[in-house]
Symmetry: none
Subunit: 228 residues, 2 copies
Protein backbone atom coordinates (compact mmCIF):
# COMPACT_ATOMS: atom_id res chain seq x y z
CA UNK A 1 0.00 0.00 0.00
CA UNK A 2 1.82 3.05 -1.22
CA UNK A 3 0.88 6.31 0.41
CA UNK A 4 0.62 9.58 -1.38
CA UNK A 5 2.02 12.67 0.24
CA UNK A 6 1.38 16.19 -1.02
CA UNK A 7 4.18 18.67 -0.52
CA UNK A 8 3.24 22.34 -0.53
CA UNK A 9 6.33 24.48 -0.41
CA UNK A 10 7.38 27.51 -2.45
CA UNK A 11 11.14 27.12 -2.19
CA UNK A 12 12.14 24.77 -4.97
CA UNK A 13 15.23 23.45 -3.22
CA UNK A 14 13.37 22.37 -0.12
CA UNK A 15 10.47 21.04 -2.12
CA UNK A 16 12.71 18.84 -4.16
CA UNK A 17 14.61 17.64 -1.16
CA UNK A 18 11.38 16.65 0.52
CA UNK A 19 10.15 14.95 -2.59
CA UNK A 20 13.37 13.03 -2.88
CA UNK A 21 13.30 11.84 0.69
CA UNK A 22 9.68 10.76 0.41
CA UNK A 23 10.32 8.68 -2.64
CA UNK A 24 13.42 7.17 -1.14
CA UNK A 25 11.18 5.80 1.56
CA UNK A 26 8.55 4.42 -0.71
CA UNK A 27 6.01 7.19 -0.53
CA UNK A 28 4.55 8.73 -3.60
CA UNK A 29 5.33 12.45 -3.56
CA UNK A 30 3.30 15.14 -5.29
CA UNK A 31 4.64 18.67 -5.36
CA UNK A 32 2.84 21.99 -5.33
CA UNK A 33 4.47 25.38 -4.96
CA UNK A 34 1.55 27.54 -4.02
CA UNK A 35 -2.02 27.69 -2.83
CA UNK A 36 -3.61 27.16 -6.23
CA UNK A 37 -1.40 24.33 -7.35
CA UNK A 38 -2.08 22.63 -4.08
CA UNK A 39 -5.81 22.76 -4.68
CA UNK A 40 -5.35 21.38 -8.15
CA UNK A 41 -3.12 18.50 -7.20
CA UNK A 42 -5.09 17.43 -4.21
CA UNK A 43 -7.81 15.77 -6.25
CA UNK A 44 -8.01 12.40 -7.95
CA UNK A 45 -6.44 10.19 -5.41
CA UNK A 46 -6.54 12.33 -2.29
CA UNK A 47 -3.19 12.36 -0.53
CA UNK A 48 -2.75 10.44 2.71
CA UNK A 49 -0.82 13.28 4.24
CA UNK A 50 0.15 16.87 3.51
CA UNK A 51 3.43 18.60 4.27
CA UNK A 52 2.60 22.27 4.33
CA UNK A 53 4.99 25.15 4.46
CA UNK A 54 3.55 27.71 6.75
CA UNK A 55 5.27 30.65 5.16
CA UNK A 56 3.76 30.56 1.71
CA UNK A 57 3.77 33.99 0.03
CA UNK A 58 0.89 36.11 1.22
CA UNK A 59 0.18 33.98 4.24
CA UNK A 60 -1.77 31.51 2.16
CA UNK A 61 -0.45 28.58 4.15
CA UNK A 62 -2.84 29.30 6.96
CA UNK A 63 -5.68 29.84 4.55
CA UNK A 64 -4.98 26.56 2.82
CA UNK A 65 -4.96 24.64 6.06
CA UNK A 66 -8.21 26.24 7.11
CA UNK A 67 -9.82 25.46 3.83
CA UNK A 68 -8.72 21.85 3.84
CA UNK A 69 -9.81 21.32 7.38
CA UNK A 70 -13.25 22.75 6.70
CA UNK A 71 -13.88 20.57 3.67
CA UNK A 72 -15.50 17.23 4.26
CA UNK A 73 -13.30 15.45 1.76
CA UNK A 74 -10.00 16.70 3.08
CA UNK A 75 -10.82 17.19 6.74
CA UNK A 76 -9.26 13.95 7.83
CA UNK A 77 -6.01 14.22 5.96
CA UNK A 78 -3.25 14.82 8.49
CA UNK A 79 -1.18 17.95 7.96
CA UNK A 80 2.38 18.42 9.10
CA UNK A 81 3.38 22.01 8.96
CA UNK A 82 6.88 23.27 8.34
CA UNK A 83 7.89 26.41 10.16
CA UNK A 84 11.01 28.51 10.39
CA UNK A 85 12.80 28.40 13.67
CA UNK A 86 11.78 31.81 14.94
CA UNK A 87 8.06 31.65 14.30
CA UNK A 88 7.35 30.06 17.64
CA UNK A 89 3.73 31.12 17.79
CA UNK A 90 3.07 29.54 14.42
CA UNK A 91 2.74 26.29 16.26
CA UNK A 92 -0.19 27.63 18.11
CA UNK A 93 -1.88 29.00 15.03
CA UNK A 94 -1.13 25.76 13.27
CA UNK A 95 -2.78 23.71 15.93
CA UNK A 96 -5.71 26.08 15.91
CA UNK A 97 -6.46 25.44 12.28
CA UNK A 98 -6.04 21.73 12.81
CA UNK A 99 -2.51 20.80 11.83
CA UNK A 100 -1.58 17.45 13.29
CA UNK A 101 2.07 18.04 13.88
CA UNK A 102 4.76 20.57 13.08
CA UNK A 103 8.40 20.47 12.17
CA UNK A 104 10.84 23.31 12.62
CA UNK A 105 13.29 24.09 9.85
CA UNK A 106 15.98 23.07 9.50
CA UNK A 107 15.28 19.42 10.12
CA UNK A 108 16.99 16.18 9.18
CA UNK A 109 15.37 13.63 6.89
CA UNK A 110 15.39 11.22 9.80
CA UNK A 111 13.44 13.63 11.93
CA UNK A 112 11.00 14.14 9.12
CA UNK A 113 10.43 10.45 8.60
CA UNK A 114 10.00 9.87 12.31
CA UNK A 115 7.31 12.52 12.39
CA UNK A 116 5.51 11.15 9.38
CA UNK A 117 5.52 7.68 10.78
CA UNK A 118 4.28 8.92 14.15
CA UNK A 119 1.41 10.82 12.58
CA UNK A 120 0.36 7.90 10.44
CA UNK A 121 0.39 5.70 13.49
CA UNK A 122 -1.64 8.16 15.50
CA UNK A 123 -4.37 8.54 12.92
CA UNK A 124 -4.61 4.85 12.10
CA UNK A 125 -6.00 3.17 15.16
CA UNK A 126 -5.34 -0.54 15.29
CA UNK A 127 -8.48 -2.56 14.95
CA UNK A 128 -8.84 -5.50 17.26
CA UNK A 129 -9.91 -8.50 15.33
CA UNK A 130 -11.60 -11.42 16.97
CA UNK A 131 -10.86 -14.92 15.81
CA UNK A 132 -13.50 -16.41 13.54
CA UNK A 133 -14.44 -20.06 13.58
CA UNK A 134 -16.68 -22.11 11.34
CA UNK A 135 -16.94 -25.87 11.67
CA UNK A 136 -13.59 -26.30 13.30
CA UNK A 137 -11.86 -24.03 10.84
CA UNK A 138 -10.45 -21.16 12.80
CA UNK A 139 -8.80 -17.97 11.61
CA UNK A 140 -7.10 -15.67 14.08
CA UNK A 141 -6.16 -12.29 12.61
CA UNK A 142 -4.10 -11.39 15.66
CA UNK A 143 -1.69 -14.29 15.52
CA UNK A 144 -2.25 -14.54 11.79
CA UNK A 145 -2.95 -18.22 11.97
CA UNK A 146 -5.39 -20.70 10.54
CA UNK A 147 -6.14 -23.97 12.26
CA UNK A 148 -8.43 -26.87 11.50
CA UNK A 149 -9.38 -28.58 14.76
CA UNK A 150 -6.31 -27.08 16.40
CA UNK A 151 -4.08 -28.38 13.68
CA UNK A 152 -2.02 -25.68 12.05
CA UNK A 153 -2.52 -24.91 8.38
CA UNK A 154 -0.10 -23.29 5.99
CA UNK A 155 -0.97 -20.92 3.21
CA UNK A 156 0.35 -17.90 1.37
CA UNK A 157 -0.50 -14.30 2.23
CA UNK A 158 -3.06 -13.98 -0.54
CA UNK A 159 -4.82 -17.18 0.46
CA UNK A 160 -4.94 -15.91 4.01
CA UNK A 161 -6.47 -12.62 2.96
CA UNK A 162 -8.93 -14.43 0.75
CA UNK A 163 -10.00 -16.75 3.54
CA UNK A 164 -10.23 -13.83 5.92
CA UNK A 165 -12.52 -12.02 3.56
CA UNK A 166 -14.64 -15.09 3.00
CA UNK A 167 -15.02 -15.85 6.68
CA UNK A 168 -16.07 -12.32 7.45
CA UNK A 169 -18.49 -12.33 4.52
CA UNK A 170 -20.01 -15.79 4.38
CA UNK A 171 -23.15 -16.95 2.64
CA UNK A 172 -22.74 -14.58 -0.24
CA UNK A 173 -21.54 -14.96 -3.79
CA UNK A 174 -18.76 -12.73 -5.01
CA UNK A 175 -17.72 -12.30 -8.61
CA UNK A 176 -14.06 -12.62 -9.43
CA UNK A 177 -13.93 -8.87 -9.94
CA UNK A 178 -15.43 -8.20 -6.56
CA UNK A 179 -12.94 -10.53 -4.96
CA UNK A 180 -10.12 -8.73 -6.72
CA UNK A 181 -11.39 -5.45 -5.35
CA UNK A 182 -11.79 -6.66 -1.81
CA UNK A 183 -8.82 -8.95 -1.43
CA UNK A 184 -6.26 -7.61 -3.86
CA UNK A 185 -7.38 -4.02 -3.55
CA UNK A 186 -8.55 -1.66 -6.24
CA UNK A 187 -6.16 -0.25 -8.84
CA UNK A 188 -4.31 -3.49 -9.47
CA UNK A 189 -4.52 -5.14 -12.82
CA UNK A 190 -4.69 -8.89 -12.75
CA UNK A 191 -6.69 -11.35 -14.80
CA UNK A 192 -9.97 -12.65 -13.50
CA UNK A 193 -8.70 -16.15 -13.80
CA UNK A 194 -6.01 -15.44 -11.26
CA UNK A 195 -8.73 -15.63 -8.67
CA UNK A 196 -9.41 -19.21 -9.72
CA UNK A 197 -5.85 -20.14 -9.06
CA UNK A 198 -5.87 -18.68 -5.57
CA UNK A 199 -9.20 -20.30 -4.88
CA UNK A 200 -7.62 -23.57 -5.76
CA UNK A 201 -4.63 -22.90 -3.55
CA UNK A 202 -6.91 -21.94 -0.71
CA UNK A 203 -8.97 -25.09 -1.11
CA UNK A 204 -5.82 -27.13 -1.16
CA UNK A 205 -4.61 -25.49 2.01
CA UNK A 206 -7.75 -26.18 3.99
CA UNK A 207 -8.58 -29.54 2.44
CA UNK A 208 -7.22 -31.74 5.23
CA UNK A 209 -10.54 -32.02 7.05
CA UNK A 210 -12.49 -31.46 3.86
CA UNK A 211 -13.00 -27.83 4.69
CA UNK A 212 -12.48 -27.18 1.02
CA UNK A 213 -16.19 -27.81 0.53
CA UNK A 214 -16.80 -24.49 2.31
CA UNK A 215 -15.41 -22.68 -0.72
CA UNK A 216 -18.06 -23.19 -3.33
CA UNK A 217 -18.11 -22.46 -7.02
CA UNK A 218 -21.16 -20.72 -8.39
CA UNK A 219 -20.89 -21.44 -12.02
CA UNK A 220 -21.01 -18.41 -14.28
CA UNK A 221 -21.03 -16.06 -11.29
CA UNK A 222 -18.18 -16.47 -8.87
CA UNK A 223 -17.45 -18.06 -5.48
CA UNK A 224 -19.17 -18.33 -2.16
CA UNK A 225 -18.04 -19.29 1.32
CA UNK A 226 -20.75 -21.17 3.10
CA UNK A 227 -21.16 -23.73 5.84
CA UNK A 228 -23.98 -25.49 4.04
Amino acid sequence: MSRKILIVEDEAAIREMLSFVMEQHGYQAVEANDYHQALEKITDPLPDMILLDWMLPGGTGVQLAKKLKSDDFTRNIPIIMLTARSEEDDKIRGLEVGADDYLTKPFSPKELMARIRAVFRRVTPTALDEPIEIEGLRLDPVSHRVTAFDERLDMGPTEFKLLHFFMTHPERVYSREQLLDHVWGTNVYVEDRTVDVHIRRLRQAIAAHSHDRLVQTVRGVGYRFSAR
Copy 2:
Protein backbone atom coordinates in the same frame (compact mmCIF):
# COMPACT_ATOMS: atom_id res chain seq x y z
CA MET B 1 -0.94 -7.14 43.05
CA SER B 2 -0.94 -3.56 44.20
CA ARG B 3 0.42 -1.12 41.72
CA LYS B 4 2.68 1.74 42.57
CA ILE B 5 2.04 5.10 41.02
CA LEU B 6 4.47 7.98 41.23
CA ILE B 7 2.94 11.43 41.33
CA VAL B 8 5.19 14.30 40.29
CA GLU B 9 3.45 17.61 40.93
CA ASP B 10 4.61 20.77 42.59
CA GLU B 11 1.30 22.10 43.85
CA ALA B 12 0.70 20.45 47.19
CA ALA B 13 -3.09 20.60 47.00
CA ILE B 14 -3.28 18.80 43.70
CA ARG B 15 -0.62 16.33 44.70
CA GLU B 16 -2.48 15.35 47.81
CA MET B 17 -5.76 15.10 46.00
CA LEU B 18 -4.22 12.77 43.45
CA SER B 19 -2.60 10.71 46.14
CA PHE B 20 -5.90 10.39 47.96
CA VAL B 21 -7.78 9.30 44.88
CA MET B 22 -5.12 6.75 44.01
CA GLU B 23 -5.23 5.16 47.41
CA GLN B 24 -9.00 5.13 47.39
CA HIS B 25 -8.76 2.93 44.37
CA GLY B 26 -6.23 0.57 45.79
CA TYR B 27 -3.10 1.94 44.22
CA GLN B 28 0.00 2.70 46.18
CA ALA B 29 0.83 6.39 45.71
CA VAL B 30 4.28 7.91 46.01
CA GLU B 31 4.62 11.70 45.90
CA ALA B 32 7.38 13.87 44.55
CA ASN B 33 7.23 17.60 44.17
CA ASP B 34 10.08 18.27 41.79
CA TYR B 35 12.57 16.83 39.35
CA HIS B 36 15.09 15.67 41.93
CA GLN B 37 12.63 14.13 44.32
CA ALA B 38 11.13 12.26 41.41
CA LEU B 39 14.49 10.73 40.50
CA GLU B 40 15.04 9.74 44.12
CA LYS B 41 11.70 8.13 44.61
CA ILE B 42 11.61 6.31 41.36
CA THR B 43 14.06 3.66 42.49
CA ASP B 44 13.58 0.70 44.75
CA PRO B 45 10.41 -0.70 43.38
CA LEU B 46 9.98 1.08 40.09
CA PRO B 47 6.53 2.56 39.79
CA ASP B 48 4.04 1.00 37.40
CA MET B 49 2.93 4.38 36.17
CA ILE B 50 3.87 8.02 36.51
CA LEU B 51 1.55 11.02 36.69
CA LEU B 52 3.66 13.93 35.64
CA ASP B 53 2.82 17.59 35.86
CA TRP B 54 4.06 19.21 32.73
CA MET B 55 4.47 22.62 34.28
CA LEU B 56 7.08 21.86 36.86
CA PRO B 57 9.14 24.93 37.76
CA GLY B 58 11.82 25.57 35.16
CA GLY B 59 10.34 23.34 32.52
CA THR B 60 11.78 20.27 34.19
CA GLY B 61 8.70 18.24 33.39
CA VAL B 62 9.77 17.77 29.81
CA GLN B 63 13.32 17.02 30.84
CA LEU B 64 12.16 14.41 33.29
CA ALA B 65 10.02 12.67 30.73
CA LYS B 66 12.84 12.60 28.22
CA LYS B 67 15.24 11.24 30.77
CA LEU B 68 12.88 8.50 31.85
CA LYS B 69 12.04 7.49 28.32
CA SER B 70 15.66 7.24 27.31
CA ASP B 71 16.62 5.01 30.23
CA ASP B 72 16.34 1.28 29.80
CA PHE B 73 14.88 0.71 33.22
CA THR B 74 12.19 3.33 33.04
CA ARG B 75 11.45 3.44 29.34
CA ASN B 76 8.44 1.20 29.59
CA ILE B 77 6.77 2.91 32.48
CA PRO B 78 3.71 4.65 31.13
CA ILE B 79 3.49 8.38 31.74
CA ILE B 80 0.31 10.36 31.95
CA MET B 81 1.00 14.01 31.77
CA LEU B 82 -1.07 16.70 33.40
CA THR B 83 -1.40 19.96 31.53
CA ALA B 84 -3.17 23.23 32.05
CA ARG B 85 -6.04 23.91 29.73
CA SER B 86 -4.34 26.44 27.50
CA GLU B 87 -1.11 24.59 26.79
CA GLU B 88 -2.44 22.91 23.70
CA ASP B 89 0.89 22.17 22.18
CA ASP B 90 2.05 20.41 25.31
CA LYS B 91 0.14 17.45 23.99
CA ILE B 92 2.37 17.32 21.00
CA ARG B 93 5.53 17.78 22.92
CA GLY B 94 4.32 15.21 25.37
CA LEU B 95 3.70 12.63 22.71
CA GLU B 96 7.11 13.40 21.26
CA VAL B 97 8.96 12.55 24.40
CA GLY B 98 6.88 9.44 24.76
CA ALA B 99 4.09 10.22 27.16
CA ASP B 100 1.35 7.66 26.84
CA ASP B 101 -1.60 9.86 27.56
CA TYR B 102 -2.42 13.29 28.83
CA LEU B 103 -5.04 14.86 31.01
CA THR B 104 -6.05 18.48 30.98
CA LYS B 105 -6.59 20.27 34.27
CA PRO B 106 -9.03 20.58 35.78
CA PHE B 107 -10.16 16.98 35.67
CA SER B 108 -12.48 14.87 37.75
CA PRO B 109 -11.27 11.85 39.72
CA LYS B 110 -13.51 9.77 37.50
CA GLU B 111 -11.76 10.96 34.40
CA LEU B 112 -8.41 10.35 35.99
CA MET B 113 -9.20 6.80 36.97
CA ALA B 114 -10.62 6.01 33.57
CA ARG B 115 -7.44 7.22 31.97
CA ILE B 116 -5.23 5.25 34.29
CA ARG B 117 -7.16 2.06 33.72
CA ALA B 118 -7.07 2.61 29.98
CA VAL B 119 -3.33 3.10 29.95
CA PHE B 120 -2.70 0.05 32.11
CA ARG B 121 -4.88 -1.98 29.83
CA ARG B 122 -3.12 -0.67 26.79
CA VAL B 123 0.49 -1.02 27.82
CA THR B 124 0.83 -4.42 29.36
CA PRO B 125 -1.66 -7.13 30.01
CA THR B 126 1.16 -9.24 31.40
CA ALA B 127 3.02 -8.98 34.66
CA LEU B 128 5.67 -6.37 35.05
CA ASP B 129 8.99 -7.62 36.30
CA GLU B 130 8.46 -11.31 36.76
CA PRO B 131 10.80 -13.64 34.94
CA ILE B 132 9.18 -15.20 31.92
CA GLU B 133 9.87 -18.74 30.79
CA ILE B 134 8.81 -20.60 27.68
CA GLU B 135 10.12 -24.05 26.89
CA GLY B 136 13.24 -23.69 28.97
CA LEU B 137 14.02 -20.26 27.59
CA ARG B 138 13.99 -17.90 30.51
CA LEU B 139 14.22 -14.13 30.58
CA ASP B 140 14.63 -12.27 33.83
CA PRO B 141 14.04 -8.53 33.49
CA VAL B 142 15.41 -7.82 36.95
CA SER B 143 18.82 -9.40 36.52
CA HIS B 144 18.67 -8.65 32.80
CA ARG B 145 19.62 -12.19 31.90
CA VAL B 146 18.52 -14.83 29.46
CA THR B 147 19.11 -18.52 30.02
CA ALA B 148 18.27 -21.67 28.09
CA PHE B 149 17.95 -24.61 30.48
CA ASP B 150 20.05 -22.71 33.03
CA GLU B 151 22.74 -22.07 30.49
CA ARG B 152 23.49 -18.40 30.13
CA LEU B 153 22.97 -16.74 26.76
CA ASP B 154 24.66 -13.65 25.41
CA MET B 155 23.01 -10.99 23.29
CA GLY B 156 23.07 -7.28 22.62
CA PRO B 157 20.76 -4.76 24.28
CA THR B 158 18.44 -4.50 21.32
CA GLU B 159 18.13 -8.26 21.03
CA PHE B 160 17.27 -8.39 24.71
CA LYS B 161 14.58 -5.77 24.39
CA LEU B 162 13.22 -7.52 21.33
CA LEU B 163 13.07 -10.86 23.10
CA HIS B 164 11.53 -9.22 26.13
CA PHE B 165 8.82 -7.70 24.02
CA PHE B 166 8.20 -10.95 22.22
CA MET B 167 7.98 -12.98 25.41
CA THR B 168 5.53 -10.56 26.94
CA HIS B 169 3.47 -10.48 23.76
CA PRO B 170 3.48 -14.00 22.37
CA GLU B 171 1.12 -15.52 19.85
CA ARG B 172 0.73 -12.31 17.95
CA VAL B 173 2.13 -11.07 14.67
CA TYR B 174 3.86 -7.74 14.65
CA SER B 175 4.81 -5.84 11.56
CA ARG B 176 8.30 -4.47 11.35
CA GLU B 177 6.90 -1.00 11.97
CA GLN B 178 5.10 -2.11 15.07
CA LEU B 179 8.24 -3.72 16.39
CA LEU B 180 10.12 -0.51 15.75
CA ASP B 181 7.49 1.35 17.72
CA HIS B 182 7.48 -1.00 20.64
CA VAL B 183 11.09 -2.02 20.90
CA TRP B 184 13.00 0.92 19.49
CA GLY B 185 10.65 3.65 20.69
CA THR B 186 8.56 6.17 18.90
CA ASN B 187 10.99 8.95 18.17
CA VAL B 188 13.51 7.21 15.97
CA TYR B 189 13.27 6.45 12.32
CA VAL B 190 15.14 3.48 11.01
CA GLU B 191 14.51 1.31 8.00
CA ASP B 192 12.10 -1.58 8.29
CA ARG B 193 14.75 -4.00 7.26
CA THR B 194 16.83 -3.19 10.30
CA VAL B 195 14.38 -5.32 12.20
CA ASP B 196 15.35 -8.30 10.08
CA VAL B 197 18.94 -7.98 11.10
CA HIS B 198 18.12 -7.93 14.78
CA ILE B 199 15.73 -10.81 14.34
CA ARG B 200 18.56 -12.76 12.87
CA ARG B 201 20.88 -11.87 15.71
CA LEU B 202 18.23 -12.78 18.23
CA ARG B 203 17.65 -16.13 16.56
CA GLN B 204 21.37 -16.73 16.52
CA ALA B 205 21.63 -15.93 20.20
CA ILE B 206 18.93 -18.36 21.26
CA ALA B 207 19.60 -21.05 18.69
CA ALA B 208 21.61 -23.40 20.93
CA HIS B 209 18.60 -25.46 21.96
CA SER B 210 16.74 -24.62 18.76
CA HIS B 211 14.78 -21.93 20.51
CA ASP B 212 15.18 -19.97 17.32
CA ARG B 213 12.08 -21.69 16.02
CA LEU B 214 10.08 -19.64 18.52
CA VAL B 215 10.77 -16.56 16.46
CA GLN B 216 8.68 -17.11 13.39
CA THR B 217 8.51 -15.29 10.10
CA VAL B 218 5.06 -14.48 8.80
CA ARG B 219 5.71 -13.76 5.19
CA GLY B 220 4.36 -10.46 3.94
CA VAL B 221 3.34 -9.45 7.44
CA GLY B 222 6.05 -9.52 10.05
CA TYR B 223 7.23 -11.72 12.91
CA ARG B 224 5.62 -13.71 15.67
CA PHE B 225 6.87 -15.29 18.86
CA SER B 226 5.10 -18.51 19.55
CA ALA B 227 5.66 -21.76 21.39
CA ARG B 228 3.63 -23.81 18.96
